[in-house]
């Protein structure tokens, strides 16, 4: 496949760097949603904090034209992998037993989405990441491929597989299509 592995230089920004405050205001909510969808509430807060502190540290040297949202999600992804590995070292089932309860708390507030996020958390990590970066983060698959280190086609496939698995379990458990 000749799909571009990286497409980091989108025309999202040109010229001098805006104040970092602007980055927090504009991208903070989306990055938090991505972290919540990927990690659950408690780990998400830590991941958000570490992501923005790392971003602040690297910010003055950021290349002109960088897609800021993809850049932030890339940092958040590394934090999420750290959390994911830490959980795997502990004897808690995740990818291997996808039908069991999730290891990470769902991000909902006791509303009807809690079950959904439990199911998202139970997906294999790559599927979960691709799904969340596309549907929650709003990133195109070319950017997601850069973050996951695969091709755009593979990222799209992972998200589609994850979405299909969610839809299937949702239908089985509730007896209705979402």
């Amino acid at each position: 496949m000749a799909a571009p592995r990286r497409e980091r230089r989108s025309p999202a920004r040109a010229g001098p760097l805006p104040p970092f405050e602007h980055i927090v205001v504009v991208h903070g909510p989306t990055v938090l949603r991505v972290c919540r969808a990927l990690l659950g509430r408690v780990d998400a807060d830590d991941a958000w904090s570490e992501t923005f502190l790392s971003a602040l540290r690297a910010y003055p040297d950021l290349a002109p034209g960088t897609n800021l949202e993809a850049w932030l999600v890339t940092i958040a992804h590394r934090k999420a992998i750290d959390v994911h590995r830490a959980h795997r070292r502990n004897p808690i089932p995740t990818d291997t037993l996808p039908d069991r309860a999730a290891t990470t708390a769902p991000p909902g507030d006791g509303d009807g989405d809690d079950e959904l996020w439990t199911r998202v958390a139970a997906l294999p990590f790559m599927q979960r990441a691709a799904l969340v970066y596309h549907y929650v983060g709003g990133l195109p698959y070319t950017e997601i491929a850069g973050i996951l280190g695969n091709s755009a086609a593979a990222a799209r496939r992972a998200a589609a597989d994850g979405r299909a698995a969610l839809r299937r379990r949702y239908s089985v458990d509730t007896g209705s299509a979402p």
């Binding site: 903070g28 909510p29 938090l32 919540r36 998202v120 549907y135």
Partner: protein
């Protein structure tokens, strides 16, 4: 921008969650030495002011007539883009300005970071606090005290580009004929400041 999807909706977040995370980021950034510029706004009798400080001291006071975007963009370019709205670092400046506008303070006791002004302008800025509260000096007098008696116009420019108005009292510089002259915050603001200092 996010694609709405019935299977994968975005998880809910509250403004309270983000406010707490922002607070934590400010604390983490400050203790990691990454909060290069902290700023806040302050409502005063001359309008809203933006106050910004580096780790060295107060670096910018600006009239917010056109909103903070241009001022922050200028700070990002000339000082550092590591800028956060972090009011705590400006507590002392805000308190002293508040006291000043209530007529209870005649001098400011604040660390100043003069990096936004250089050369002759910096000499002028450094000498402006010599003009005492309730007094005025002419552009020509300030030029003389800065060591360049003929640089009257340059004094005007230095005042117009004063990065720390109110705190560094460029409003006390008036025309030789006694008329009020120009001011970075507008002539009305200059009159309010001079009246405040006369009454107090």
């Amino acid at each position: 921008m996010t694609t709405p999807d019935p299977v994968v909706p975005a998880p809910p977040i509250s403004s309270g969650d983000l406010a707490w995370l922002r607070e934590r980021l400010i604390l983490d950034a400050d203790s990691a030495g990454l909060l290069d510029v902290a700023y806040r706004t302050l409502d005063t009798p001359v309008g809203a002011l933006l106050l910004a400080a580096t780790t060295e001291g107060l670096v910018r006071v600006a009239y917010l007539t056109d909103g903070p975007d241009d001022i922050l963009a200028d700070l990002a370019e000339r000082v550092s883009p590591r800028i956060l709205e972090a009011p705590h670092r400006l507590d002392a400046a805000a308190t002293q300005l508040d006291e000043y506008f209530r007529g209870r303070r005649v001098t400011f006791d604040l660390a100043l970071d003069l990096r936004l002004t250089t050369g002759f302008r910096r000499d002028v800025i450094a000498h402006l606090p010599d003009i005492e509260y309730g007094h005025t000096a002419s552009y020509a007098q300030v030029a003389a005290s800065a060591g360049s008696p003929r640089a009257v116009r340059a004094v005007g420019t230095a005042c117009a580009k004063n990065p720390l108005p109110v705190v560094v009292p460029c409003h006390r510089v008036v025309r030789s004929d006694g008329s009020i002259g120009q001011y970075v915050g507008g002539i009305d603001a200059k009159r309010i400041l001079l009246d405040l200092e006369t009454v107090a």
